[in-house]
């Protein structure tokens, strides 16, 4: 079904449903593409689970006899680790170089000729990929965490839909950041160094290695307001473990929405500049 709809509607088409259908078709193709990488998915889930065990034991040792660290109880910290390990594959911190590879090989020209903005089409594909990851890579670590450590069960029902929204926003924010990093290839061609910097910074500052609230209060606030990183991982997890009161919980998701939208706009802007650049190069 993918190739029929992807070519039909033009950019000037007023038909919103046609646009929606295109977006959906691309998302489905993203889902199906990742559904074929079966062995890699299994291997990744095993690795994520291994690190889930390691981090759980270390963080639970931090709570010590008191059973509380930086406002998290033991069950909340266990959830923190295992939800984080499950979400790694969903938000996909590492290993996305599709755009940069296509810039280097020149294939990106095809993307630019499509009747849909490249940021939009890549976003659709990425949401499809994330959908597959929710089904495959999120479930295994979370189930293992529940069996071996016991996870925190939310006490307020609105937490569940809020978590779902937060995960979608996290994927969008992560995608937009990755897009900007990849788009640097229009200028640099080889972005390995930048990619390395991204994977490091995003891991540490998003709360993958330790909850950001372990940091001094001012640093946590500065990171949350001033960088998109906490919106990629820390926010959905904090929402799920009900670290804050409902008002603050909603506030964090609203902040996440701002970052997701802001980074998408930045991605579009960078893409616009990049196209000019590409024309000047005569590519």
């Amino acid at each position: 079904m993918g190739f029929i709809t992807a070519t039909v509607p033009g950019p000037g088409s007023p038909n919103v449903t046609a646009h929606m259908r295109t977006f959906f078709a691309i998302a489905v193709s993203g889902f199906r593409r990742y559904a074929t990488y079966r062995q890699a998915t299994v291997a990744a889930a095993v690795t994520n689970s291994m690190f889930g065990f390691l981090r759980s034991y270390v963080l639970l040792a931090v709570t010590g006899a008191v059973g509380v660290a930086a406002g998290y109880g033991s069950a909340q910290l266990a959830s923190y680790v295992w939800l984080g390990q499950g979400l790694i594959g969903v938000v996909m911190f590492w290993g996305w170089t599709d755009l940069a590879d296509r810039v280097r090989t020149g294939d990106v020209v095809t993307d630019l000729q499509r009747p849909i903005h490249p940021v939009t089409s890549y976003l659709a594909a990425d949401l499809g990929r994330a959908g597959h990851a929710v089904l495959s890579r999120f479930g295994v670590p979370v189930a293992l965490g529940a069996i071996f450590f016991g996870l925190y069960t939310p006490t307020r029902w609105p937490t569940y839909p809020l978590f779902a929204i937060s995960v979608v926003l996290a994927v969008v924010a992560s995608f937009a950041c990755r897009y900007v990093v990849n788009a640097a290839a229009f200028w640099l061609l080889d972005i390995r160094g930048l990619q390395l910097a991204w994977s490091l910074v995003s891991g540490v500052l998003s709360g993958l290695y330790f909850p950001l609230r372990f940091l001094p209060g001012w640093a946590t606030t500065a990171l949350w307001l001033g960088t998109p990183f906490p919106s990629i991982l820390q926010t959905p997890i904090d929402v799920a473990v009900e670290r804050d009161r409902p008002v603050r919980q909603v506030g964090l998701v609203a902040l996440q929405l701002c970052w997701a939208a802001g980074m998408l706009l930045l991605a579009r802007w960078v893409q616009g500049r990049a196209v000019h650049r590409l024309v000047i190069q005569g590519g």
Binding site: Q39, A40, A43, A44, V46, T47, M50, F51, F53, L54, Y57, V58, L59, L60, A61, V62, T63, G64, A69, A70, D190, R192, G193, L196, A197, L200, G203, V204, Y209, F210, F214, L215, P216
Partner: protein, 264 residues
């Protein structure tokens, strides 16, 4: 006999050093990676004064011993990970027909000189941690401070080789081996008594990870083992590493013997 390997090694070093900016960037990136791990440890101690009963100075010694052992192993055999690629594209066949050992060839052909930065960094960290932990030096402890990281490196190397061998059976093994190698690095960086149950039994004693940093650190610090085992176990590190190396060699030979080309 070693000279063809030396020639290959020198050629690799020359070729990697010729891309100066790229080499410097890789070197820098490798050092920063270690900095992030260290940062995580320091942050944990912001929240708690003791981790599994160990102070920050004692934990840093464990962390530094593990980091040095892993960095040495990664420099020596870390590029074995690329065997997946070699098996898939059939390049391994070319190595098999040459009159040289397959394993040494693999290691030399892709020798990652940029990983040397990590070794230097980890060694400096270890020296600092030894001073900070105020080790009460005896000739035995001096010897152990040198022998332990090397034994740990041999153990990690054995894990790297055994893990990479999976590619002979399961070509798209992906990052499966990482769970043991990088997972092992993280496991050894913390006191073994923070883990529990089957997880501790399997990885601390089954895979031998407790002998990389934890038991040697106990000997250096003169602390009894919270798990109740004799502290002298720190001296068993070379023996454990030797057994691991023998097992890895056996697994490797079995893998090479039953290797069938992908035929592509």
């Amino acid at each position: 006999m070693a000279s063809p390997y030396l020639h290959l090694l020198a050629a690799q070093a020359r070729s990697q050093l010729s891309y100066r900016a790229s080499f410097a960037l890789d070197l820098f990136g490798n050092v920063v990676t270690l900095g992030a791990d260290l940062l995580a440890v320091l942050i944990l101690f912001r929240v708690t004064p003791l981790l599994g009963g160990f102070t920050i100075a004692e934990e840093l010694l464990i962390f530094a011993l593990a980091a040095t052992a892993f960095a040495l192993a990664d420099l020596a055999v870390g590029n074995i990970e690329r065997i997946r690629l070699y098996v898939r594209i059939g390049l391994l066949d070319a190595l098999l027909v040459r009159p040289l050992g397959v394993l040494p060839q693999l290691l030399v052909v892709d020798f990652g000189l940029r990983r040397a930065g990590r070794v230097v960094y980890a060694a400096v960290l270890l020296a600092g941690a030894l001073v900070y932990a105020q080790v009460d030096w005896t000739p035995g402890r001096v010897a152990l401070a040198i022998v332990a990281p090397i034994s740990g490196a041999v153990l990690f190397s054995a894990i790297f080789v055994a893990g990479a061998t999976v590619a002979f059976w399961w070509i798209e093994s992906g990052e499966l081996a990482n769970a043991l190698t990088y997972g092992g690095r993280d496991f050894t960086a913390y006191p073994v008594n923070v883990y529990s149950g089957w997880f501790r039994r399997v990885f601390a004693f089954g895979a031998g990870f407790a002998f990389v940093a934890y038991y040697p650190a106990l000997v250096l610090l003169g602390r009894p083992d919270p798990l109740g085992l004799p502290t002298g176990l720190g001296w068993a590190s070379p023996a454990v590493a030797g057994v691991a190396a023998a097992v890895a060699a056996f697994v490797w030979r079995t893998g090479v013997r039953q290797y069938r080309s992908t035929g592509s």
